[in-house]
């Protein structure tokens, strides 16, 4: 029953999860000497048709490097944390509505089935 929209939402939620995992890793390593902020290229991974592959993790350019070689910006990570949480919430609601709609179509409006 997986229509293309559900597949896209599935892929979207997976990418957001991976991104959130990297944000958590960055936050945990905010004081680790030499650690570089990690992220994925969300847009290109989303348009990448090969849904089974793991997204490519890159280091983020353009961040200020501290004296110990660490370049984690807690403000950036806090912003991404909130953003990813919201995106995931939207996608999961859309997916839930999809499933509910299909279920209703199958049951044809009858509650006992």
């Amino acid at each position: 029953m997986l229509d293309p929209l559900s597949n896209s939402l599935d892929r979207y939620m997976t990418l957001v999860s991976v991104r959130q995992k990297l944000v958590a890793s960055n936050v945990a390593n905010a004081d680790t000497p030499g650690y570089k902020t990690q992220d994925i290229d969300f847009e290109s991974e989303l348009h990448n048709a090969a849904a089974g592959t793991s997204p490519v993790v890159n280091t983020v350019p353009g961040l200020r490097v501290k004296n110990d070689g660490n370049n984690v910006d807690l403000d950036r990570e806090a912003r991404l944390l909130a953003e990813n949480a919201l995106r995931f919430s939207v996608a999961s609601n859309l997916l839930r509505t999809q499933l509910k709609t299909v279920r209703m179509a199958i049951e044809g409006g009858s509650s006992a089935s």
Binding site: M1, L2, S6, D10, M13, T14, S17, S54, S92, L95, L99, V102, R103, I106, E107, G108, S113
Partner: protein, 98 residues
């Protein structure tokens, strides 16, 4: 006086052998059910694989696993409804006075 022409029966089709009717109807219903069963089995098998992959710590995500199981459940529900409709339609046809 015009000649009386014999009554001509309209062209009735040849009555099909009863086994023929049941045979063709049965095979089309059977095919329908068979393909539906196969689809449900495949969907359920992929959901099982997703769950196995998830609990053994593979790269499968939680939401993907849940989506697969929900999808299999919907496939099964759809199959049930189709089966019910098909069976009741069949029974209705069988009930018809011929």
């Amino acid at each position: 006086m015009t000649p009386i022409s014999p009554i001509r029966l309209p062209n009735l089709p040849e009555p099909l052998a009863s086994s023929g009717v049941a045979g063709s109807a049965g095979s089309s219903f059977g095919n329908l059910l068979h393909s539906a069963i196969q689809h449900v089995e495949a969907s359920s098998a992929s959901a099982d694989a997703a769950v196995k992959n998830y609990i053994s710590g593979g790269p499968q995500e939680l939401h993907s696993t849940i989506l697969a199981t929900q999808s299999a459940e919907l496939d099964f529900e759809m199959f049930l409804q189709v089966r019910n409709k098909v069976v009741s339609a069949y029974e209705e046809i069988m009930r018809m006075q011929v």
